[in-house]
Every structure is written in structure tokens, then in C-alpha cells.
């Protein structure tokens, strides 16, 4: 199977920060069609990794490709093939849902955004709010706006940075179902940063664990659950890996 994401010795050292780099020598392959969950404590380097893969941040060393295009040399090509939902994005509060989505659709090069917006909102089961201003939206609704803008241009790879953080259980379940459907029905490869291990068990097909900028574990979810029979939940497995460096 073709790799949707491939990194080679990816390293990031932030300016003026001495000591260990934020991301060290990351070599990773995520095949097409996977739902990959990147786990790690706060400050482990998850957002740094996604920022490089979404062409926002230049690596200090190493290289990365998304759908065969280099994130540095062919950033325009990478941007056309990806969708991105950053952490804690709030969009334009004074504009309506539709106005927000039209803006992002146009930025992604769609010439007839309204039709596509209807399609996406119906896929997300999120119709009827088009004319409402975002200032009236709950956190859960905003996350759905976030997903909507990320998939408007039919990307083949979707990057989600902690998509379920701050949501209530119902919101978490809703978003989880959406992620699963994006993968199974639309065939999108999904790269997701997360802390919520219960979610990972229900959505991801493979996981990686970052500790202090180093990838210390990478395997399919299925094999992971099988290889740690002593632990009875992914949470325990994760804490075990994190602590021992597996």
C-alpha cells in the first residue's frame, strides 16, 4: 500500500531553545487509508510534527512527504491534498457558518462553494445552521465547523490536532463517529494527535507514541492490544510504553 505520509529523520529545534530538540529524528510511514493516532504527553512534540506535515513549520533537518509531495519543495501541492483542523481554532465569530465556510472554500480554490458546503453539511448532519453567527455556537458545534472546513476541498489526508479536547461525552461520540465515517466512507487517511485513549481505541487503526520528541513506539492498534496482554486497556498500555520506552 502507498504511503500517505512519510518522514525521514525529521528534526525540529526551535530558535533559541537549547537542549533536546522538540522533535528528534522522526522516521515514520502512515499508509493510505489508515487512521493514525499520535500519542504523547504535553510537550512531546505532537503539534510540532503536524505543523511540519501541514507545511506551516520548516524542519531543522530531515524530510517529509505527504501523498508523495515534499512538504518543503512542493508545499503548494501538499496543501491541496490535505485538510487541517488546528487545536483551539475559533473561526470568525461575527460571520455566519456559511460565510465562514465560503471563505475557506474559496481559499482552497473552490469556485462554486455553496453547493459543496450543502453537501458537506449534510454529510456531517449539520444542516439548518447556515445563517447563524458562530458567536452563538457551542464548542461541539465549532468542532463540526472545523471538520467541515477541513473536508470542503475533498482532501485525501486529514490532520486533526486534538479534535475532541474540551468536548462533552456526547460531542466526543459525535466527532468520533464522523472521523470513522470520513475514513470508511470517503476513504480519507487521518492523522490525529490526541490524549484521549478511549477515543483512540474506537477510531484508530494504528498508533505512535512520542516521548520528548522521540518516537518510541509505532504499531497497528490490533497488534498493540495483543502484544500487551498484561494490560487491560490502551490507557495502561500507553502509560506502560511511555514509562518503559518499550
Amino acid at each position: 500500500m502507498r504511503a500517505a505520509i512519510r518522514t525521514n529523520g525529521l528534526t525540529k529545534r526551535y530558535n533559541g531553545k537549547a537542549g533536546e530538540p522538540a522533535l528528534a529524528d522522526l522516521s515514520l510511514e502512515v499508509p493510505e487509508g489508515e487512521v493514525f493516532g499520535l500519542l504523547g504527553h504535553n510537550g512531546a512534540g505532537k503539534t510540532t510534527t503536524v505543523s511540519i506535515l501541514t507545511t506551516l513549520l520548516d524542519p531543522t533537518a530531515g524530510s517529509a512527504e505527504v501523498q508523495g509531495a515534499d512538504v518543503g519543495k512542493s508545499s503548494a501541492k501538499v496543501r491541496r491534498s490535505i485538510g487541517y483542523l488546528p487545536e483551539n481554532v475559533e473561526f470568525y465569530d461575527s460571520l455566519s457558518l456559511e460565510e465562514n465556510l465560503v471563505f475557506f472554500a474559496r481559499l482552497s480554490g473552490l469556485s462554486r462553494p455553496r453547493e459543496r458546503i450543502r453537501e458537506v453539511l449534510s454529510f456531517l448532519d449539520f444542516e439548518g445552521h447556515e445563517k447563524e453567527r458562530l458567536s452563538t455556537f457551542s464548542k461541539g458545534m465549532r468542532q463540526r465547523v472545523g471538520i467541515a472546513q477541513a473536508i470542503l476541498h475533498k482532501p485525501s489526508v486529514l490532520f486533526l490536532d486534538e479534535p475532541t479536547s474540551g468536548l462533552d461525552p456526547a460531542g466526543v461520540k459525535l466527532l468520533r463517529d464522523i472521523i470513522v465515517r470520513l475514513n470508511s466512507e470517503l476513504g480519507m487517511t487521518i492523522f490525529m494527535n490526541t490524549h484521549l485513549l478511549a477515543e483512540v481505541t474506537k477510531t484508530c487503526t494504528s498508533i505512535g507514541v512520542l516521548r520528548a520528541g522521540r518516537l518510541i513506539y509505532h504499531d497497528s492498534l490490533e497488534r498493540t492490544l495483543r502484544s500487551f496482554p498484561a494490560q487491560d486497556s490502551l490507557e495502561e498500555i500507553y502509560l506502560h510504553i511511555e514509562a518503559s520506552g518499550a
Binding site: 506551516l56 488546528p86 470568525y92 460571520l95 474559496r106 481559499l107
Partner: protein, 301 residues
């Protein structure tokens, strides 16, 4: 190009939704009206003195207003553009710069197929489009008020002059929009983003003219600039250094030429145009040096 147009449209839409931008528009139009009211009041006073004199003399004398330029009643608009207009450009620029960072949209926009320069250019054009809306509204208010005061609509030549004046104002305000934008996109703290451009505005409007491009301290509040004293060596040196960048003085002078005001010293305007366009072009150049890294700097309250 398409992406830039998308940013421009978005900026205009957001400005119309923003209470502060709309409030400033209203204030500016209010000032334009005030300018006309002041013009009307002095016109009225002079006219009644004139009529009184004619009555007392018992014979006809030439009407002083017959020879006055039609646009004289709106000359105060020049100073409102230098003061309120420039402030408005700075504030709207800062807001445009800060907004995407505060709402976390910057990363999203930069992950779309749009270059950093197209983004910056779109922001500037958007802010300047909003300033265009403000100036066009002020133009309409000025034109109508001259009509009301002098009881006859402006002729083609004077209307043209008024249009040229507001077009010049648009170019004059551009560096202030850029300063606002740069401060808004780079400042570490939202609360201090206004500080740097305001200091530069104060320097350009109040300090530099005093250092040698205007004759006396009150000249900066006068719509018509007075030539600097060139006898003093201190003034001579400062004049040579600051004159080219003293855009408020150039703008005031050039506006006087356009409106054909009687009390301006010289009608040479090439230097004014050069200074205004060079400073505008320079500021655009600086804005286009924006990088992805500088746009992604974190913003604190």
C-alpha cells in the same frame, strides 16, 4: 490572485461587522460634516459682515466670496484626514492583523494554497478598500455640504479636484494602514499592538514638522502648511533630513494646491507626489517582507 481577492472580500465583510470600524466610519463622517458646518459658519459670518458693509456704504462693493475657491468651505477635511483618518487606518490595520491570530485562523489560512505575500497583500488591500469606503462616503458628504452651503452644486472642475483630493488621501493613508497591519501581525501582545504605530503617527504628524518642516508649532494643526524657516542652521539640517518623509506636510500642501487655496506659498506639487508615493511604496515593500514564521508568532492577551 484569486486567493488575494478572497482575503480582500473577507476583510471588507469583517470590517462592516466590526463595531469599532463602523463607529470610526461614523465619527469620520461626523467630522466631515463638522468641517462643512465650520465652513458654513465662517461663510455666513463673512457674508453678513459684507452685507452690513454694503448697507452702510450705500453702494455695491465686490463680494469677497465671489473670488474665494468653492472648496474653501471643506478645507478642514484636510486636517481631519491627517488626524482622524490616519488613526482610523492604524486602528483598522491593527485589528485586521490581530484578528486571525486571536481566533487561531492564521494556521488554517497558511495551510491553504495561498502564499504569505498574497495573504499580506490581501489584508492590506482589504484595509485600504475599507478606507476607500470611508473616503468615498466623506467625498459624498463634502460634495453635498458644499452644495447646501453655497446653494449651487460644484462644477465639473471642482468636483474633479475633490475626487483627486480624496484619491490623494487614500495614498496618504496607505502607510498608516501598513503600520497598523505590521504591528497587528507581529506584536506579541494584543494590548500593545497599537502602541508602536501610534508613536510613529505622533512623530510624523507632530514631531517631525516641528523639527524643521513647518514654521511654527501651531502649523501642524493648520490645514495649510507654512514653509519652514530656512535661515537657522538647525532648521536647515532637519529640513533636509525630514522633509522627504514628512508626509503629513506634503499631503497638506498638495491638498492646498488641489483645492486652489489662496494662501499656499508655492504651487509646486511634484515633490509632494514623489514623497507620498515613495513612502507608500516603501511601506508596501516592508509589508511584503512578511514571513510565515513572523505571522505564526504566538499572541498573548
Amino acid at each position: 490572485m484569486n486567493a488575494t481577492r478572497t482575503i480582500v472580500r473577507q476583510e471588507i465583510r469583517l470590517a462592516f461587522r466590526e463595531r469599532l470600524a463602523v463607529a470610526l466610519l461614523v465619527v469620520f463622517l461626523g467630522m466631515t460634516l463638522a468641517s462643512a458646518a465650520i465652513g458654513w459658519s465662517s461663510h455666513h459670518t463673512v457674508m453678513s459682515v459684507y452685507q452690513e458693509t454694503v448697507l452702510q456704504l450705500g453702494r455695491d462693493v465686490p463680494n469677497p466670496f465671489a473670488s474665494a475657491p468653492a472648496l474653501e468651505v471643506v478645507t478642514n477635511t484636510i486636517i481631519y484626514i491627517v488626524l482622524i483618518g490616519a488613526l482610523l487606518a492604524v486602528v483598522v490595520g491593527v485589528r485586521a492583523g490581530v484578528r486571525d491570530r486571536r481566533s487561531g485562523v492564521t494556521d488554517l489560512v497558511l495551510s491553504r494554497p495561498i502564499g504569505v505575500r498574497s495573504y499580506a497583500a490581501g489584508k492590506l488591500l482589504g484595509v485600504q478598500a475599507w478606507m476607500g469606503v470611508v473616503l468615498a462616503a466623506a467625498l459624498a458628504v463634502s460634495w453635498l455640504s458644499v452644495w447646501l452651503i453655497s446653494r449651487s452644486p460644484l462644477g465639473v472642475a471642482d468636483t474633479g479636484a475633490l475626487v483627486v483630493f480624496f484619491a490623494l488621501a487614500w495614498i496618504f493613508l496607505l502607510p498608516f494602514s501598513v503600520m497598523g497591519l505590521i504591528a497587528g501581525t507581529r506584536s506579541r501582545h494584543e494590548s500593545t499592538a497599537l502602541l508602536a504605530p501610534l508613536l510613529i503617527w505622533v512623530a510624523i504628524t507632530f514631531a517631525i514638522p516641528q523639527l524643521g518642516t513647518a514654521q511654527n508649532p501651531t502649523a501642524m494643526l493648520n490645514p495649510v502648511p507654512s514653509a519652514a524657516s530656512t535661515t537657522d542652521i538647525f532648521f536647515k539640517v532637519n529640513h533636509a533630513i525630514f522633509q522627504p518623509i514628512s508626509i503629513t506636510e506634503h499631503f497638506k500642501h498638495m491638498s492646498g494646491v488641489i483645492m486652489r487655496l489662496p494662501d499656499i506659498a508655492s504651487t509646486a506639487w511634484v515633490g509632494d507626489v514623489l514623497s507620498l508615493t515613495l513612502v507608500a511604496a516603501f511601506s508596501v515593500g516592508v509589508l511584503l517582507l512578511t514571513t510565515r514564521t513572523s505571522l505564526r508568532r504566538p499572541l498573548y492577551e
